[in-house]
């Protein structure tokens, strides 16, 4: 059984104000399914506005879906009684891009950890102090940090504090939404290494949300590529990077600037931009930008199907078995 199982999840936000009359909804998430096993990292990548954060909020039960289910350890998250929900929420924690926004500026780091530990009765009252120090050590901070306030720390250290708070409740799943996006390269690696280390020590599963593919490659075992509220491709991380199938994934990978001046690319760039998730979307979500688009793509939405073992893609041009059947020559 998977730790987390997300089934045909949808979230439509009603439109207010100036767009009123156009359609009524933003389809932020529009039928997304995936599973996360315990101890595993599943990454969601995609451009901003593709619905990643909304999926994260739905998984944590912070938003109610328009349709679809979220199962955590087999329990249907949105059909639980309040106490049960509270119990399950403890096992699912989150870490955000901006740790500063989620930390109380007037509370010392030690105070914050002790409050969390005692409020949720994680350990006996006389063990709280010791546990707080242990957690700080786990995230690579010295015990003297206990008496300091968030503003006294650097960006990287503040992200360590946010991680400390998340693991203090002994969760099984952490939803990490762009946790290293705001950090400089020299610090980014420190936090990514820490997340990998903690995963092994504590058997954590991560739902790791990012737009940086290099980061995703390092941290995740499996990846889902989102576009306009849909998953277009889901695969093993290594498979996805070595042999991307969906035209969007290919474009995304080739758009990453490579830090090697000897390999400047000249190939076609993806033209256009991701449209709004407004109004009626017919056909393939990617059809307006796809270099291989055909008539059928604009009419009919391709389902996400397993084209190779554990490799899913939603594209009319990709046939199971004969995966290489589309190329520049036979399109258009």
């Amino acid at each position: 059984m998977s730790l987390l199982s997300v089934n045909q999840l949808k979230k439509y936000f009603p439109l207010r104000g100036r767009f009123l009359g156009s359609s009524g909804y933003i389809r932020a998430v529009d039928g997304v399914s995936f599973k996360v096993n315990s101890g595993e990292t599943f990454a969601l990548v995609g451009e901003s506005g593709s619905g990643k954060t909304t999926v994260g909020f739905l998984v944590l039960g912070l938003l109610r879906p328009t349709e679809g289910e979220v199962y955590f350890k087999g329990e249907d998250l949105f059909n639980l009684r309040v106490e049960e929900m509270r119990r399950i929420r403890r096992s699912m924690q989150m870490v955000f891009q901006d740790p500063y926004g989620s930390l109380n500026p007037r509370q010392t780091v030690g105070g914050m950890l002790k409050e969390v530990l005692s409020f949720h009765h994680v350990v006996e009252p006389d063990l709280v102090e010791g546990r707080a120090e242990e957690i700080l050590r786990l995230v690579g901070l010295k015990p003297v940090c206990k008496s300091r306030y968030p503003h006294e720390f650097s960006g990287g250290e503040r992200q360590r504090i946010a991680i400390a708070r998340a693991i203090s409740l002994e969760p099984e799943l952490i939803v990490a939404d762009e946790p290293v996006s705001a950090l400089d390269v020299s610090i980014r690696g420190q936090i990514l290494n820490l997340l990998r280390e903690l995963q092994e020590k504590l058997n954590l599963a991560y739902l790791f949300i990012a737009h940086d593919l290099a980061v995703v490659r390092f941290i995740s075992q499996r990846v889902g590529v989102m576009y306009l509220g849909k998953l277009l491709e889901v695969a093993d991380t290594e498979k996805l990077f070595k042999k991307p199938l969906h035209p969007y994934t290919k474009a995304l990978l080739s758009a990453i600037p490579i830090p090697d001046p000897g390999r400047r690319k000249k190939e076609d760039l993806l033209s256009g931009e991701m449209p709004d998730a407004l109004g009626k979307l017919s056909g393939c979500r990617f059809s307006s930008r796809c270099p291989y688009v055909r008539e059928k793509c604009r009419r009919e939405e391709p389902p996400l199907v397993e084209v190779e073992e554990d490799h899913f893609a939603a594209c009319h041009l990709i046939k199971p078995q004969a995966v290489d059947s589309y190329s520049d020559s036979d399109s258009r």
């Binding site: 690696g189 990998r196 991380t237 758009a255 990453i256 490579i258 830090p259 000897g262």
Partner: protein, 321 residues
């Protein structure tokens, strides 16, 4: 041709918590039609360097240095003449165009205004030129888009508008401060491609400021690496990536995840950048440097020429060693 030469530029901010040495003794050159990449982590002084060149430092002081543009000393120019250079001969674009566009005017109006001010043409001429510019920067249906307000456009389109405005006066130098940092990767690559196209068309020199070494590798001819307000290494782009000399440059390049192999552990640079209000004596990088020796604690290294157009500021490369 040497278009812009910066020598010993030093800019400071005086705050209640002390003097911020944001830019310290910075020197570099920009050549006609070439791109100089200025790379470094956040807070290292990249933006302040650019704003100092434009003399847009109202809250701080340009303490010393020279900025020579086609033989003229910009730091000594009367403000009136400087205004003509700014946005005329030297144009600048920023990470977030929304902050530099006026929200209450249509983008068409704003570009026309910029053209009229700098080129002293009639409104009619300016308007048809504006449409041409929007076309040039790849804005679809320019006539309709000209009537849009900045907030109605996507981030990528706004950056195109900024570029249109910047090139409207056919500047010799374009300073682009993190122009793609706020954009998604597929849009970012379109903008970089556009900048390359326009550069070869108009032979502009570009100062490309970024924290992304990938962007540098794609775009730059030469690179200056900044750390804590100083330039620590300056080299031709091929040299810098193949044979980085400064320990900080080496460290930065090693931090990048391997594109071929999936690592189990990422290399990092230990510690974090020093506080610009409270810099150590000696080298600014000493606390994080794996090669630090006694002299690094005592004396400031200076940028020295180590051949093949490479300059490095590190005691490991000073002549006396």
């Amino acid at each position: 041709m040497k278009v812009l030469e910066v020598r010993g530029l030093t800019t400071r901010f005086y705050t209640l918590e002390g003097v911020v040495k944001a830019v310290e003794n910075v020197s570099f050159e920009m050549w006609g039609g070439k791109t100089l990449g200025l790379v470094g982590e956040s807070g290292c002084g990249k933006t302040v360097t650019a704003l100092s060149i434009m003399r847009l430092i109202p809250q701080g002081e340009i303490v010393s240095g020279n900025v020579r543009y086609k033989g003229r000393e910009l730091l000594k120019l009367p403000e009136g003449e400087m205004r003509r250079i700014r946005g005329g001969e030297i144009a600048m674009i920023f990470q977030e165009p929304l902050l530099s566009l006026n929200p209450v005017f249509t983008i068409g109006n704003q570009i026309v205004e910029a053209i009229v001010v700098h080129k002293r043409t009639s409104r009619m001429e300016a308007e048809s030129f504006m449409i041409k510019l929007l076309e040039l920067v790849g804005i679809p249906s320019p006539r309709e888009m000209a009537g849009c307000y900045p907030h109605q456009l996507s981030g990528g389109m706004r950056q195109r508008v900024m570029i249109a405005m910047a090139i409207s006066t056919q500047p010799s130098v374009l300073i682009a401060d993190e122009p793609t940092t706020a954009l998604d990767v597929t849009i970012a690559s379109q903008i970089l491609e556009l900048m390359r196209e326009l550069q070869s068309k108009f032979k502009m020199s570009i100062l490309l400021i970024t924290h992304d070494l990938g962007v540098i590798a794609e775009m730059a001819d030469a690179v200056a690496v900044m750390y804590a307000g100083e330039i620590v290494e300056c080299a031709e782009v091929g040299h810098l990536f193949k044979k980085p000399l400064h320990p900080y440059t080496k460290g930065l390049l090693e931090c990048l995840p391997d594109p071929v192999r999936r690592e189990t552990y990422l290399k990092t640079i230990p510690g974090h950048v020093p506080d610009l209000r409270n810099l150590p004596s000696g080298c600014n990088f000493q606390d994080r440097c794996p090669y630090a020796i006694q002299v690094c604690k005592e004396a400031k290294p200076h940028l020295v020429d180590v051949g093949s157009g490479t300059f490095v500021s590190c005691h490991l490369y000073q002549e006396e060693l």
